[in-house]
Amino acid sequence: MLQLTPAPHISSGTNTKKIMYSVILALTPALIGSVYFFGWRALFLTILSVLSAEVTEYLFQKVTGRESRISNGSAVITGILLAFNISVNSPWWLPVAGSIFAIFVAKQVFGGLGYNIFNPALAGRAFLMASWPSLMTGRWIAPNSGTLSGLSSITLDGVTQATPLSLLKLHQGESVIQSLNSPGMLKALFFGNVGGCIGETSALLLLIGALYLFIKGYADWRISVGYIGSIFIFSGILYLFRVSPVNPLFHILAGGVMLGGLFMATDLVTSPVTRKGRWIFGFGGGIICVLIRLWGGYPEGVSYSILLMNMFVPLLDRMAPKVYGGLK
């Protein structure tokens, strides 16, 4: 029997699964780093989050009688990213609640993979922020500085320590600001040896993973460069005019800028499809992030800035580039 599918008769061999698993692989260095900095509980919460995401996806597809697509790995990414966005000191049910919201409300009801408007992990995080603000912002602990002592215990103790960003928000005088601007702080931020959410602290490990995705072409560097670059430029200008007390390097290394700019803004489904749109998307997100950090009610603006830009994606997608030869 001759087969009759339409042209083209060959394919590039890339498929959705491959892309998703590459993203998971790219997140692995940061995951390993989180265990190193915060102990096994980081891994425990991540696994819990991933499992909740997968189970929610499975149940939804089962109940609505859809083809099960849980093996494509997209829910795993959501689970990991959500866990990366909470403190290691969170109660176990926090990532569970976040993942269920992320998959159910932000993704599956819209039709599942490919149809969600908002990045599920970020929607999940915003849900947690709105619902349990004290758990999301008041429970930071210091990293174990790589002594590996954290590896043996799954406990909630640990030295509580404000994150660099919350110190900035509290504005506790000149000496604090000076320490935030110090090279030692920037180094700690770059390597990840600071308090913060599970997966966001190490700029280095996140960059390694993202670089892999950029090379593979599974994430568009334009978004990341637009996002992180605009934060750098905008906060730099504000620093020059003494509006922002901290230097732009601090701004791009602290908090979730790397995690958000490299992994969440670049989420394929919730970012624009055109190159121009992607530049605008990244750039706009960066500006909003700095605005929230310096003038908003929260110490961190990354997740909201990306969620807000997610809303504009359908509009940005309308900016079609000029068609070859022009249109009549």
Partner: protein, 202 residues
């Protein structure tokens, strides 16, 4: 006549079926008590405007009917507004601008135009009761869901009753605050409408 009443609750349910009067439904349902208060206030206006319009339907000139309806409705709204301010000031503050806004609830004008204007006062009364009750039930249910999930308590009446702790103390202390924030309102009505559609299809 009882048919009119039942239809008012289900078949013509303002929110679930006609999707009118959404603003107060979402805005004030942060607690069951507020929802109930809003529902009853609207029901009061519905019943009396329906009755009056129906009673005078033969002398209201056709081309002037809409402004006349509006004046009648606005009058009852003003009555409700001032009554609430006088007797339940706290509720009045909670409902805020949404009490005077009952006047633009398209549901009420819609019933005046679509039902009361060409039915006898008896039917108009039943319609007002049914529609009002259907509206009140939804507001109460929405308020209940949002209050229990969002605050961990149920039926709190400010100054009188501190509410039932439905899921126990631990839940009350870490309730889902989002549910009493604006997005929680959208989520709750989406959920109710989804469930309603599920049953309507069957």
């Amino acid at each position: 006549m009882s048919r009119t009443f039942i239809d008012g609750i289900i078949k013509n349910n303002l929110i679930l079926v006609l999707a009118i009067g959404l603003c107060p439904t979402l805005a004030v349902t942060t607690s069951a008590y507020n929802g109930l208060g809003m529902g009853l206030a609207a029901t009061f206006v519905l019943i009396f405007s329906n009755l009056i319009i129906s009673a005078f339907r033969n002398i209201i000139p056709d081309n002037l009917r809409i402004p006349i309806f509006i004046v009648i409705i606005a009058t009852f709204v003003t009555v409700v507004d001032y009554t609430l301010k006088a007797y339940v000031p706290f509720l009045s503050v909670q409902l805020g601008v949404f009490v005077p806004l009952i006047v633009v609830n398209c549901g009420i004008l819609g019933r005046a135009e679509g039902f009361a204007y060409d039915h006898s006062p008896g039917y108009a009364l039943m319609d007002g009761l049914g529609i009002g009750l259907g509206f009140t039930i939804i507001l109460f249910v929405m308020g209940t869901i949002r209050e229990i999930l969002g605050q961990g308590i149920w039926l709190k009446i400010p100054g009188m009753f501190s509410g039932f702790k439905v899921f126990g103390e631990a839940f009350t202390n870490s309730s889902v605050i989002l549910m009493i924030l604006p997005p929680g309102g959208f989520l709750t009505i989406a959920l109710l409408m989804g469930i309603f559609n599920l049953f309507r299809r069957k």
